[in-house]
Symmetry: C2
Subunit: 315 residues, 2 copies
């Protein structure tokens, strides 16, 4: 059997035919249109998927399921997406609408970070583990939790929203209305915010030269590159980032203690520079570090394919 | 079939014969001796249990398992207890030693908070839920996590240590070596510490009269009783307590989103006074509160029997 996985993004929707081992057999995609009705959006996606099946000599008989990863919150139980800002969706019956096009084949949805975590646990760096926590370090911070080999997103579908765990009482105000959420400390957005603040007082920082004096050109990669070169301001931001991430990892360990943490998202592309620092920092705060092994920490391996693979693996 | 559950404490070890519904059929106990060798401690416990079986006309044939809840960390996989300060144990082979006395019947161990959480989920307030998080609010703060009806204590046995999740970066120093752990804010110890601090500057507080000027007599019950009477200092401590607990509940929800939170331990005996305040506070910080239901929050129901019942239910 084969499965269709759809990675729904604000600019494009990537999709693929995936086998049971999590290997992508064929890929295609459509541009995201937000100015057309929801049912039309779904028609365009399903048309692309059905063509992809046809081109690769598959029929609906070969199709076990269709899955989609959504950049927002998704109700796995009802198949409804309560809100997805990037797509302009509010309370859309995704599963119901999508399944019309696939002859009643089961349709699954989940949050994109959960989907990426599932992909890594099937065909990526956490393959072979029975529990893992995936943390996307991107514009925001998201999470995907696998327990006993299956996605865990909570009893009400609001779990694995790791970006909104409280890291600091009365800390940085968050877009969610709370304060001190992890996302305010460990997203690319947080890195950029801190760099812009610090550059106002330290124009001598290497970062200023790297962005050619244009603060709007500062991004997380630039800050980490300057930290690698030992620029004191960038090092300060990087160290703070690592400490916050390590504290979050320790909090999740104190609660869940997964076999492995997988770091994904844009910021994780800094690779060993980030990974080594986090691996060094985590044990400083860890409980029982002398009596029990700590969870392994790794960088995600599947890159952008994770969205397609994980969506296909939903069931 | 029946099971033996043992609730191991620093002053006494309570035990009982428990049926599959989590009902205690008979109870007994021994005094904890820490000045005798480990094997002797185990002999005393098992002798008590074997006598209890005999008195109630059961044989080892009727016994499905023996379980024990330990006030410390327990390695469920090996049956070894790395450290249990109250009993003076360090790296003791609990399972191996105990099973010698029960003709090879399986012996299980787990942390006492986990055991209490399991008991509530089998025969207490969270019975019928498939996922729950039990939080003991006592001298320390502990946790027990049930997912899909089974205890989840992590891949390395260091999960559900909710007392050591970070609530505040660079916060109150904790005995574990880290700073800002939940236990520093939501234990009875934390309430007492704050009351003693505040009473130094506010001798006019009702709490001073209640403890007859003896700060060593201040306890959590006294502080909450004064808060109920609207004593401003006590109200301040109580409000802070509720805020911290609500933030912890929201962090655990952002990660795990259980069906129910169960509050146990000494501080939870304040009942509706605490429960109502926490239920009112949690939604203030919750994500998605308009789109999804939040986990229920309840007070534990089984009291001190939870230790026996939950230990018996381990498997």
């Amino acid at each position: 059997m084969i499965r269709i996985g759809m990675d729904i993004g604000g600019t494009g929707i990537q999709m693929g035919i995936v086998n049971d081992q999590g290997v992508i057999l064929a890929k295609d995609g459509v541009v995201t249109h937000t100015d057309i009705p929801f049912s039309e959006q779904i028609s365009q996606m399903s048309e692309c998927a059905l063509n992809l099946l046809k081109k690769n000599n598959y029929t609906l008989q070969d199709l076990a399921s269709v899955g989609a990863g959504v950049p927002g919150v998704a109700d796995q139980r009802t198949g409804v997406i309560p809100k997805c800002v990037n797509l302009g969706w509010e309370n859309v019956p995704f599963r119901e609408e999508m399944s019309k096009h696939f002859g009643g084949r089961p349709v699954f949805i989940d949050n994109d970070a959960t989907v990426a975590g599932l992909a890594e646990s099937v065909a990526g760096v956490s393959a072979g583990t029975s529990s893992s926590v995936f943390i996307t370090l991107g514009t925001g911070v998201g999470g995907g939790i696998i327990i006993n080999g299956r996605v865990w997103n909570g009893a009400h579908g609001i779990g694995s929203e790791i970006g909104h765990m409280t890291l600091e009482l009365e800390g940085e105000p968050c877009t969610c209305g709370n304060k001190g959420c992890l996302e305010r400390y460990c997203s690319a957005t947080a890195i950029i915010r801190q760099a812009r603040q610090i550059l106002q007082f330290h124009p001598e920082s290497m970062m200023m030269e790297m962005c050619k004096g244009d603060l709007s050109a500062v991004n997380a990669r630039l800050v980490f590159a300057a930290a690698k070169e030992q620029d004191p301001c960038a090092v300060k931001i990087f160290r703070r980032y690592v400490t916050c991430l390590a504290q979050a990892i320790n909090t999740i360990t104190a609660i869940l203690d997964p076999e492995m943490f997988v770091l994904g998202g844009g910021v994780s592309k800094s690779g060993a520079f980030l990974l080594d620092a986090v691996r060094e920092e985590v044990p400083k705060y860890a409980l029982f570090k002398d009596a029990f092994p700590l969870p392994r920490i790794e960088i995600a391996r599947l890159g952008t394919d994770a969205g397609i693979i994980g969506a296909a693996m939903l069931h």
